[in-house]
Amino acid sequence: MSIAALHDTRILTGRSLRHILRSPDTIITTAITPIAMMLLFVFVFGGAINTGSSESYVKYMLPGILAITIASGVAYTSYRLFLDMSEGMMLRLRSLPISRSSMLWGHVLTSLAANAVSLLLVIGVAFLAGFRPRATVLDWLAAAALLLLTTLALTWIAVIAGLSAKTVDGASAFSYPLILLPFISSAFVPTDSMPSAVAWFAENQPITAIVDSLRSLLTGAALDASIWVSVAWLLGLLAAAWVVSLFVFRSKTRG
């Protein structure tokens, strides 16, 4: 990216961040559903779930809750992008001598910041619910990087939805399957308790690898291949979503 494009991106990120600072409820609503789910699972269902380990259940399922937090948080990116596209702001920006990629990156960087705050809120409540990780500083850094990469990949998927949606409801509807995906993974129960077809899907979808690596990092357990499977999945998704976003952006803005 050129210096000029970085300058434009910085200004448009500032604009988009101000939207969040003026309506902090978007961060709170992003965090509140995962927090409610977490409390439900820990204090209602958790006692009946056998994870096959002696660790506390909150420690087992927190990574899944974090995945749900990101999946619901990125829906705001598609919502804001949809508004830009439908209310004439995008036309105005495109009539200016500024870099085109900055019009998308401003929203993407804002999504990273907003989701980071939501994730911290959820982790904070997890501590109150008895989450006591045995992670080193290095583990925490690796976990943060993995969460950041997950947010980045899902945000670019949200960009596709925001650019191609025809209604405001359509703009955020893409996130529902993403929110459900952690339930068909190792996030809440071990996959070997599932029927074989479902277990096969759960074991081979990216959320399981991501959740397993996060769990290893946060519990201080030895890392296995899941970390590389996660990174490969996320980089692949990120590259695909980014390419499709740029394609959709170009075709939507070149009549």
């Binding site: 036309l91 105005r92 009539s95 009549g255």
Partner: protein
């Protein structure tokens, strides 16, 4: 010197031929009205001139720059104010202007914003969000955002559609001041009186081509010479309305 030169411009959406060979020359420093009914292709033409749309055939040069080959230079030398107010509703009026000034690389964005607020009679409203503005105020803010950076060419797509008579006359005065300061103005309108009041030259866009073009006097010559008739001049409804609600330019919405 022409601010805008359009040659043989064609644009279709599938089977809908919106522009079928448009030729146009807008002299620098003039107010040029593009007159046409709804659906005549005015917005399409303006969007092609401002590089938002690409043409199927033909050539457009803006201040000497080709829209297809040098879009960035074209965008640097013009500003567009579209039909729909492109305003960020979460930012105040002043913040909207500062945002545009920063994107236009103004060395002192805050001062640029304050100067425009004053010029458009929005200084007091600047600290509020545009959702609290009247329609006329929103349109003025929208135009002010377009003028950030002082581009030598301003495109106004139906600048007065939907405005009440006072705001409309206020907008006309702003457009006249712009032209007086040397800015070239291309405006589209469906109102005959607006073209008559403002424009140095008028082009009539109909069915995708320019069917007539010239000064108001040129266009008048196309019809048989005027005959003298004695008619009782009744006040128009607009005269009555403006007499009773006060003259144009009065503060509004405050």
């Amino acid at each position: 010197m022409q601010a805008i030169e359009v040659h043989g411009l064609r644009k279709s959406y599938k089977d809908l031929h919106v522009l079928r060979g448009v030729d146009l020359a807008v002299p620098a420093g003039s107010i040029y009205a593009l007159l046409g009914s709804n659906g005549a292709g005015k917005t399409t033409l303006v969007q092609i001139i401002s590089t938002l749309l690409s043409a199927d055939a033909g050539q457009v040069r803006v201040n000497g720059f080709d829209t297809a080959a040098q879009p960035r230079q074209v965008r640097e030398s013009l500003s567009l104010t579209g039909q729909f107010a492109a305003i960020d509703g979460v930012h105040t009026g002043r913040e909207n202007l500062i945002l545009l000034a920063r994107l236009r690389r103004d060395p002192d964005p805050e001062r640029a914003a304050d100067a425009l607020l004053e010029r458009f009679d929005l200084t007091e409203a600047g600290a509020r969000r545009p959702s609290t503005y009247s329609g006329g105020m929103r349109r003025r803010l929208d135009l002010a955002m377009g003028l950030v950076g002082g581009a030598p060419l301003v495109l106004l797509d139906e600048p007065t559609t939907g405005l009440d008579p006072q705001s409309r006359i206020q907008m006309w005065n702003i457009i006249r001041e712009l032209a007086a300061s040397g800015t070239t103005v291309l405006l589209t309108t469906q109102y005959l009186d607006e073209a008559e009041q403002l424009a140095d030259r008028i082009a009539i866009l109909h069915d995708g081509t320019i069917i007539q073009e010239g000064t108001l006097a040129d266009l008048r010559k196309l019809l048989p010479p005027a005959t003298i008739e004695h008619v009782l001049k009744e006040p128009t409804l607009e005269d009555i309305f403006l007499t009773f609600v006060g003259s144009a330019g009065a503060p509004e919405g405050a």
